[in-house]
């Protein structure tokens, strides 16, 4: 699976599953950028079918709705959908 890396302060492993067409995902990326936090992301809509299925399954483990953006923090916590306050709170 090919994650895109965005350089920034190390706050642990921050993984963002996003859609390239989704404005809420864009807001999540912008927020992380503005906070200067390092993270990695995958635009799931840009993946090939088999990869897409694997990623969907992974997302569902954390977020049963399978909605975007889904942010997984240190393999421990998840933010489902874009909520600025929750993202700020969970990534400290």
């Amino acid at each position: 699976m090919t994650f895109q890396h965005v350089e920034g302060t190390d706050k642990g492993r921050i993984v963002l599953y996003s859609l390239s067409t989704c404005m809420w995902c864009r807001m999540a990326k912008n927020l992380l950028r503005d906070l200067g936090i390092g993270y990695e992301y995958i635009d799931v809509d840009s993946l090939q079918a088999e990869e897409k299925d694997a990623v969907k399954k992974e997302i569902k483990k954390w977020n049963p709705d399978g909605s975007y953006p889904t942010i997984i923090i240190n393999d421990k916590e998840c933010v489902s959908g874009f909520d600025e306050a929750e993202i700020r709170e969970k990534i400290k």
């Binding site: 067409t21 809420w24 959908g81 909520d83």
Partner: protein, 199 residues
């Protein structure tokens, strides 16, 4: 960065043109696009990207399967828009918002996914009439009570057999079958409170 090389270009001019058309259509039918124009243009761009990819306007904030028959319910405007507008003041992606949001009295924010789980997993064998597939989740008790009061008597069809209540605009007579009346009558623009339960 994340774009695939085969994706055809969507131009700002095209996005602006579609925005104008959608805005006009929305306003003429009692709906409103999100007044945050940059946000709205971004969503429209996403829909046009999806149109290039799949051949239809799949919701930009949901992952489409690419099979039209499986994605029909999330082609914009999606099956869930009006229920989400009524409950949250915005549709799932917030392309469409209620008057309250336009006026700044309410904020469009993330909302739960109303799309039934069996559709989310892309299972094509999901029965179309499963309870979860019903776009509007009403309050059965309230509906039954309302049905009991509804006019109709013993003439067929029995209104209690209807899957949705029918609402009538008292101004122009427009009828619609959904859990609640629309915010604004799409025909004569009368407001929600001018609707009555018809069946």
């Amino acid at each position: 960065m994340s774009g695939t090389t085969e994706r055809p270009e969507v131009t700002p001019e095209e996005v602006e043109r579609v925005f104008k058309k959608l805005d006009q259509e929305a306003e003429s039918a009692g709906y409103h696009l999100n007044p945050d124009k940059e946000f709205t243009l971004g969503l429209i761009e996403g829909m046009l990207v999806n149109e290039r990819r799949y051949g239809y306007w799949a919701c930009p904030c949901r992952l489409a399967s690419g099979k039209k028959s499986e994605d029909l319910d999330i082609i914009c405007p999606c099956d869930y828009r009006d229920a989400d507008l009524s409950e949250y003041g915005a549709c799932f992606c917030a392309l469409y918002v209620s008057q309250e949001v336009v006026d700044g009295r309410r904020k469009a924010r993330r909302i739960p996914e109303r799309r039934p789980a069996e559709k989310l997993s892309g299972a094509s064998e999901a029965p179309a009439e499963s309870p979860g597939a019903r776009p509007f989740e009403g309050k059965p008790a309230a509906q039954d009570a309302a049905r009991a009061e509804a006019p109709g008597g013993s003439a067929t069809p029995d209104p209690t057999d209807l899957r949705y209540p029918v609402w009538r605009c008292k101004v122009c007579g427009y009828l619609c079958a959904r859990d609640g009346p629309p915010e604004v009558c799409p025909i004569c623009k009368a407001r929600k409170e001018r609707f009555e339960r018809f069946l």
